[in-house]
Structures are given as C-alpha cells and as structure tokens.
C-alpha cells in the first residue's frame, strides 16, 4: 500500500492505495466520484478524461499513486455553486449529448482545447477531440457546442461568467 494525498475537485483526500490502482477506479470506487465513467480498457475512448494538474489525462491510464500531490478536476468539479460552465451550457443548448456517457470526457477534453486555443475552427475541434469517442451524436452537435462555448469566452481564454443552467431559456436556438 502506498499513501497518497490528492486534491480532487477542491477537496483533499488521503488514502492508502495499492500501487496498481488506476486513478479512475480510485475516483469511482474509493471516493465515490462516479461522474467520470469508464468506456474502454485500451485508452481509446476518452470517457474517463480528467484534468491532472492543468493538462488532460485519461484516468484509466494513470495510476492513483501517480496522482499523489496533484490536483485532479473531474466533470463534477466544473460547476460552481450550481452554475454551469459555458461548455456545460453549450453541450445542453446545442444538444451535444444523447446517452451522455462520453460527455464528461468530451467536456474535459474540450475544456483543454479552449484553454490552448480559445477560438478554434471546426476542424481544429474535430482534431482535438480525436481521442474521445461518441457513439450517439455523430459529433456534429459536439463540435457546435465547443464552437458555441468558444464564442462565449473573452480574449484571454478564461471563461466568462455564465448564468445557471436552470435559468437558461429551455429551447434550442440553432
């Protein structure tokens, strides 16, 4: 067993873990943070994508012990005080999800893209999400959502304050 200390979505956890324990299983089975799902066992699908110290990582391909001393952000840590981020809102408004299983990973990967490239083209969005598979949407509305979220950011790439999801006019405009 190895002792680790990890900041997950702003809460610090200390645990003794087996060295082979995957980060995604640590999140899901030990911490009960099941918002990050598992879609494959070969790191192809990206459903388990999280932010690890400011860069995306597929949490099925990281050991929990490698996250020792790190800050992990999952999809569950994005909304603040019930207010969705522009990306979460855009996925809702652009119908960028159907079954929603890939959505946490998609949002985390798109968040990373917009940090690096605040105003991507549709082709750049498609390229950046290549490591995240979706079986429902054909990706078209995911691309729309990311572009829409990009349009809501200011020039510095930090995400603008958004109204809470509940206050959004509940009708698609696209």
């Amino acid at each position: 067993m190895t002792h680790i200390k990890v900041n997950v979505d702003g809460t610090i956890y200390e645990d003794d873990v087996e060295p082979r324990l995957l980060l995604v299983h640590y999140l899901r089975d030990r911490l009960g943070l099941t918002g990050t799902p598992i879609g494959c066992d070969t790191s192809n699908c990206g459903a388990c994508t999280v932010d690890l110290d400011g860069a995306t990582a597929k949490s099925c391909s990281v050991l929990a012990v490698q996250a020792d001393g790190c800050a992990v952000t999952t999809v569950q840590g994005l909304a603040k005080d019930g207010e969705w981020t522009p990306l979460q809102r855009a996925f809702h408004e652009q119908h960028g999800l159907q079954c929603g299983y890939c959505t946490p990973g998609m949002i985390m990967a798109a968040r990373d893209l917009l940090r690096e490239n605040p105003h991507p083209t549709a082709e750049e969005v498609r390229g950046a999400l290549e490591g995240n598979l979706c079986r429902c949407t054909g990706y078209q509305n995911i691309v729309r959502a990311v572009l829409a979220a990009a349009g809501q950011q200011d020039g510095s790439g930090t995400q603008a304050q958004a109204p809470s999801g509940q206050q959004v006019t509940e009708e698609a405009t696209a």
Binding site: T34, T42, V75, H92, G100, C102, G127, L133, V143
Partner: protein, 793 residues
C-alpha cells in the same frame, strides 16, 4: 427546417414541434448520473467471468479450487456448478416451425462454441481481486474444429457447431410474391446479379454492459440493475430461466449509456449475477471490460447477400430475387433468427415490381452470436437494393436518380401495398429527392466529376445515392403472430395526475439516450395543457412502470408516444366528468382549452385540469359513477408499421494512388412524419449517419482462421472519431403517418439504414470509369487501392 407545431385533438399545440432542450441533460453534463457500474451496495461482491480462449472445444476439466486460495475471493463456480436450476437463455423468435433451437446454457458446461463463451466465474471483494483470481482457474480443453465460413458450414460433412443437431443450418425462411422470378427473368431485357457481404459489426455502445443484483433473502426478493434496453422483457425472461417468481423480481434500467440493439438482450451474465447473488445471499456486481464486451456482447450484421434484379431496357424493374446466408453465430439469442427476416420485407424498398422471391438461411458458426444492431435487417436490405440499383443504372447508362424515379411509388399512389405485402401509408419520394438534389448541388458535382475524370485527376469524385425507406414502429401484434414472434408489439403508458397538479407520465419504453423524458413531457403537456416543467417521466423500473415492451426498432415514439397521447386524452375525458360536477354544468357544455375547462357562454366558470386533480383527491361528494381519480392508462397496439423514408446523397473523394477515401459532402432529407422535437430528431439522424458511414468505411469484426476475434479491443476496431466524419447537411420533408394520432414515424434507425449504401455507391461511382464495380465493406484504403489495381491491371 420547419418547426411547425402539431395540435393534438385536445392539445394546445404549444409543445409538440418545439426544439425543447432536454430534461435529461442536467445530470449527464454534471456527472450526477446513475450508470449501473456507479451503484455500490453495502456488502457488494464483484463477479468476474472466465471465458473460452478457443472458438470451439470440449471442456474436459475445470478446477476452480486454486482461485479460492486467492486473497479476497469468496466463491468460484464452474459451469457444472451453476448449471443446475438454470434454464437455457431464451430465443423469442423461432422464425420457422422446423427451426433448429440449440440449448444455450448461460455458462458453458460441456462445450465452448465461440471465443468468449463463459466457462467459470469468481466472486471477490473487489474487482481487482476477482480479475486476478480468474487466472488461477484451471481449464482443460479438447479442441474441436472451428466453423467460420457460411457456405462451408452448410456443406456435407462439415464440422458441426451443435453436434446433437446434425446440421449447421438453423432455418430456411422463404417468401415469394407476385409472378415467379423465372417468368420475369424470361421476359427481362436486362438482368444483373451481385453478391454483397455484410461484415460483422460490434455495436459499441459507449457504456459497457453492467449488472448489479441485490437479494433480500428474508422474502426471496431480488432487485437487478442492468444496463439494458429491455427491463420489462428481461424480468419475464429471468423468471423463466432462473425459476424465481416474476413478482419477486424487480428490474431497473437506470441511466443507460446507449444500446443500438446490443442491450436488447437477455445475457448470460445477467442470469449468472442473479444466480450467484441468490446462492451467496450477497449483492453482486458484474461489469464487462470493453475487450470482454467485444467477445461477449452480441454482434450485428454478418450476411452474404445474393441479389438478382430483372428489368426492361428502359429501366423498369420487373422482379427481384434475394438469397441470404445469415450468420447466427454460436447460439440463438433473444431475436437472432428474426433479424434478417425484418429485412425480408424491405428489399423491394420504394420500388414497384411484378415479382419478388426471397429466402434466408440462418447458419451456425463458432463465433459470437449475432442479434439486433441499429436497423436490424433493414440496413442490409437497403444496402443490397440500393447498391444494385446503381449497378443497373450503370448497365443501362441511366443516371441513378433517374432510374429510381422511373420505379418508385409516386406520391399520389399512397397508400400502396408493395410486392412484399406491406402497405405503405404515406410518403413523398419526389419531394424529398428534389430537396436533397438542390441542397447537394447534384448537377454541379456531376459536372465536376466528369471534368476531373477527363483530365485524369488521380483523386476521383464519386457521387452516391440512396433513396431508402424502412419499416419501424415495431410492431402490429397480428403481423408479429404471422412472423412467429414470441410476444405482441404493444406499448403502455399511464398518467398520474398528482393532487398538487403535477403530472407523472409512466412509460413502458426504456430510453438510453433518445430523450423520452423530454419528448413524452412535450406530448403530455400539450394534451393536458399543463406546463412542460410540471411533467415528470418515469421509466425503466418494473416497480414504477410495471408494463412495457421497451425500446428498440424505432418504436418508442410511434407506439409508446402514441400510448402517452391516448392516456393523456383519457385523463382529459375523466377530468371533464369531475369538471362538470364542480361547475354544475353538463359535460357537453364544457370547453377544454389550454388546460382549462370552462362553461360555454359563461367564461368565468372555469377550472384548470390541475385544480381538478386536487378536487378529485379531496372531493367528498362526487356523483355516483364518477371515479375520484383522473389518472389513466393506455396500451396501444399499432395498426401498421410506420415507413420513414428519405433521400441521401454522398460525395466522396477517392485517391486512386493511395486508396484513401474521404467524404466531401453528405446531404440527407428524411421524412419521419411529424416531429415532436426537431432538435432531437436532427441529433438522431446525425448519430445514425455516423454508424452507417462507419459500416461503409471503417468497422469490421475480424476473425482469424482459428476463430479468434482479431479486432478484440477498441484499439483494433475502428469506431470513428470526430476527425473521421464530415459535417452533415440534414433537412426534412413532412408527410404524416396515418397509423397514429401524432402522425409520427420514428427516426432512431433511419440514418444508419440510409447512409451505408450512399457512401459505398459513391466510392464505386468514383472508380467505375476505371472498371471497378464493387468494393467490399469496409472500404478501407487497402481495399480501395486493391480494387483499383485489379481493375486497371
């Protein structure tokens, strides 16, 4: 896109036809989901399954004892340990009287028949311990010859998948209508015969399968959570297989991450988890890994199609003959034999002809069983007819669109009974095609294609057409009887008007990404005249929604949505009686508009339906015969299938030097009748297109000569990413279905059914000047390159 509202008879028309954002999204985009694998129960154990590494072998020894020595392991069982008391996994669709129905134990006892067949299980305190312990189990196999080729399997003396059955032929199902094909062939000026291969596909829903069983030993009750499309059917079948009384079983499909047919199944692991939980008296979870799912979740397609068409020189179709060999895999699962039969009626598609002959022979192989995959039989049919229509057009020197126009059912001919015996209630192929051609810029692309071919551009432009229809809204029970299906095709809905005026819609459909919570709310809100936000949709739990036929075959809206509509209409009828009492008026003198009853001529006397719900709850003096409830339920048996159609056009660029193919533009105009939520309909089309295109260009379950699955993980099986797919242009025409009050047809499978032939037709069209007449799916760069080389050698 026209977002025209559709008023129900009693409805306000404010909700249906609107692109309401989805109620489902809030939990899905914030990670507050309930996937089955998220569920943790006190004392829960983890089940892991040891699977056969061989396609076909006799099991000579299984020793699970060494696994019990491993840390954290509580139990381990061989097939023989578990077999007692477990029946065969069910096949609900014995398509012929003399079908061969092999025994299908949930876990192999004497023989394994595909790589992935379960042979033993372990139960441990965590998933890692369970996975480790599998390695300690000792199994000895005596290899038997694999059965892989569909034609070889039927040959005299071929090794048998089920030796006790004496044959690998599962069934032969014939259909012949109109003149004999021999007769029309005689008078035909042109006949064309082709062989097409439907490769095996792996459905690949993003959520792997998972099941959690919690037993309550004291009362003998069991709750199963499963990543399933069919909680209701599963419950009945589990009772049958395990002997646990149905009323002691509760099945819950919580949030389910896609299905595409792969979760329309009663799986061995569901039975095993229940059996083990029962035996140990402890909660048990099993979650498949993706690679395990590639072996053990059913596959789709897998057919050889011989198709022959007879026509006149002018391009009038005279007849069609189709002979199929369909790969059943090793066992018959829930609806395995019926999948090709769902396609049998669709080969004539939108065309008029005098003769149609069809046979399908189901064949056992030592491969993962096949069953429903998005479209289920209809994509195969559409592919074959739309591919051969292009071949016929080429033979006759006709534009492929013009050939279709000469043969399709004209809009004024509806309702039209096809040569296959289906009565298409409505459609307008002319309108959809005209719109698609205009959006696509068909003439301009044809001109560019000619110009590039003339100057010898090594990158060729190809244009593919697919004018498809399908039968969905499964299904009229009388038709299912004729097809020997084991159940009816109805769907149930009930509406509970809560005392505070809020509404619970209870549906028998079981969504896994389709957005039923949103759409059913729209339907109910319109009929009842209540706010969309006041409606909650309950589904996927046999305790809260006791009656249902579940979700598959693009049936949910046309059958289940119709049931919601009718139940809501009955709520209004019942509320009218209570309103008449409260307003001291006769029912005939009441008007119902936007959720409010008022007395004709005295508009101040009014009660909303939400107030009436409260009055029904509290009232002490309702007249005799007036029920103190305005709740209602309805079970709908559809009178006909629905027949969505559309015209899909695809332009591809094919590099003849490298074989690389990419889609330059894709335009589709679908007619799915009236739409409840245009945004959701468009999303369904996008996803369907992606899966159909994936079959055309990317995906194939590949086996080696020993029967091992080579594409056994997501690293080897190419589910396309955003970078592999184009931006689609989608539009609609709207010809309402006449078989339901909503006028809806269903959209879940349309894109998948239509797109595969559009893409392959485009690839072949690009290469036809070089002499290429077919490229086998998936049209990988290697296959395209080889086709070009062979044609130009």
């Amino acid at each position: 896109m026209t977002d025209q509202a559709v008023a129900g008879e009693t409805g306000t028309g404010r909700e249906v036809g609107r692109s309401r954002l989805r109620k489902e999204d809030a939990r899905l985009i914030t990670g507050q989901t309930t996937w089955t694998d998220n569920i943790q129960v006190a004392g829960m154990l983890h089940l892991a399954v040891l699977r056969s590494p061989m396609a076909h072998a006799r099991i000579t020894r299984v020793d699970v004892a060494p696994a019990l020595e491993r840390p954290g392991v509580l139990a381990a069982f061989s097939g023989a340990d578990l077999a007692e008391g477990l029946g065969s996994l069910p096949c609900a669709w014995p398509v012929t009287e003399d079908i061969v129905l092999p025994d299908h134990p949930p876990i192999a006892v004497e023989e394994v028949r595909y790589a992935g067949d379960p042979v033993a299980v372990v139960v441990a305190r965590d998933r890692y311990a369970a996975a480790d312990a599998l390695e300690a189990i000792e199994v000895d196999y005596d290899p038997l010859p694999p059965v892989l080729d569909l034609e070889d399997a039927l040959a005299e003396g071929a090794p048998l998948v089920h030796s006790d059955k004496g044959t690998n032929r599962c069934y032969t199902w014939p259909l012949a209508t109109g003149e004999s094909f021999a007769a029309v062939r005689e008078r035909a000026e042109v006949t064309i015969k082709r062989r097409y291969h439907q490769q095996r596909l792996i459905p690949s829903a993003m959520e792997p399968r998972a099941v959690v069983v919690t037993p309550l030993a004291a009362s003998g009750e069991y709750t199963m959570y499963s990543a399933t499309q069919i909680p209701h059917i599963l419950r009945i079948m589990l009772a049958t297989v395990t002997g646990i009384p149905e009323h002691k079983l509760r099945v819950i499909a919580p949030d389910v991450g896609g299905g595409f047919g792969s979760k329309l199944q009663v799986y061995g692991e569901e039975v095993l988890a229940l059996a083990v939980a029962r035996r140990l008296g402890r909660p048990v979870k099993w979650t498949e890994s993706r690679s395990e799912g590639h072996l053990a979740t059913h596959h789709g397609r897998g057919m050889i199609q011989d198709i022959e068409v007879a026509a006149t020189r002018e391009g009038r179709l005279l007849g069609l003959k189709v002979d199929l060999l369909a790969d059943m895999g090793a066992y018959l699962m829930l609806v395995t034999p019926g999948i090709p039969i769902l396609g049998a009626f669709m080969y004539p598609a939108i065309y008029k002809m005098d003769s149609y002959e069809f046979t399908c022979t189901g064949v056992f192989t030592t491969r993962t069983p096949t069953d429903a995959y998005r479209g289920a039989g209809r994509p195969e049919a559409t592919f074959a007819i739309e591919r051969i229509m292009d071949e016929l057009a080429a033979e006759l020197g006709l534009d492929p669109v013009e050939l279709r126009r000469r043969n399709w059912i004209r809009h004024e001919e509806f309702p039209y009974t096809t040569i296959a015996g289906l009565t298409y209630d409505s459609g307008d192929y002319e309108a959809a095609t005209a719109k698609a051609l205009a959006l696509f810029g068909y003439d301009g692309l044809r001109a560019e294609q000619r110009e590039r071919a003339e100057r010898g551009d090594p990158v060729r432009l190809g244009i593919g057409v697919s004018t498809f229809t399908e039968m969905c809204g499964l299904a009229p029970s009388r038709v299912l009887r004729d097809l020997r299906y084991g159940a009816g095709g109805w769907e149930a809905a009930s509406i509970r008007m809560l005392p505070t005026g809020k509404v619970e819609v209870v549906t028998g459909t079981s969504p896994h990404g389709q957005g039923h919570e949103t759409c059913w709310s729209q339907i109910a809100a319109d009929v009842l005249g209540v706010p969309f936000e006041d409606v909650e949709v309950l589904h996927g739990d046999t305790r809260s929604s006791p009656q249902g036929m579940d979700t598959y075959g693009s049936r949910s809206l046309a059958v289940g949505g119709e049931a919601v509509h009718r139940a809501a209409t009955t709520v209004v009828d019942k509320a009218r009686k209570v309103a008449a009492h409260l307003l001291e008026a006769s029912e005939q003198d009441l008007e119902f508009r936007e959720g409010v009853f008022s007395v004709k001529g005295s508009p101040e006397a009014r009660r909303s339906i939400q107030e009436i719900a409260f009055e029904a709850f509290t009232n002490h003096d309702l007249p005799d015969g007036v029920e103190p409830s305005i709740n209602a339920e309805h079970v709908v048996d559809p009178e006909n299938f629905s027949f969505p159609h559309g015209t899909h056009l695809c332009a591809v660029e094919v590099d003849t030097e490298t074989g690389r193919t990419w889609i330059r533009s894709y335009v589709c105009v679908d007619d799915v009748g009236h739409v409840v939520n245009p945004m959701i309909v468009e999303g369904q089309v996008h996803g369907g297109l992606a899966q159909g295109i994936a079959q055309a260009l990317y995906e194939e379950a590949v086996y080696d000569d020993e029967g091992n699955l080579v594409s056994g993980s997501m690293a080897d099986y190419l589910v396309p990413s955003a970078a592999d797919l184009p931006e689609f242009v989608t539009d609609r025409t709207e010809t309402p279905a006449s078989s339901n009050a909503l006028g809806v047809k269903g959209v879940g499978e349309a894109g998948t059914i239509a797109s595969t032939p559009a893409v392959v037709n485009a690839v072949v069209d690009a290469l036809r000047p070089l002499g290429v007449t077919d490229v086998r799916m998936p049209c990988t760069p290697e296959r395209v390159w080889r086709a070009v080389r062979e044609a130009t050698a």
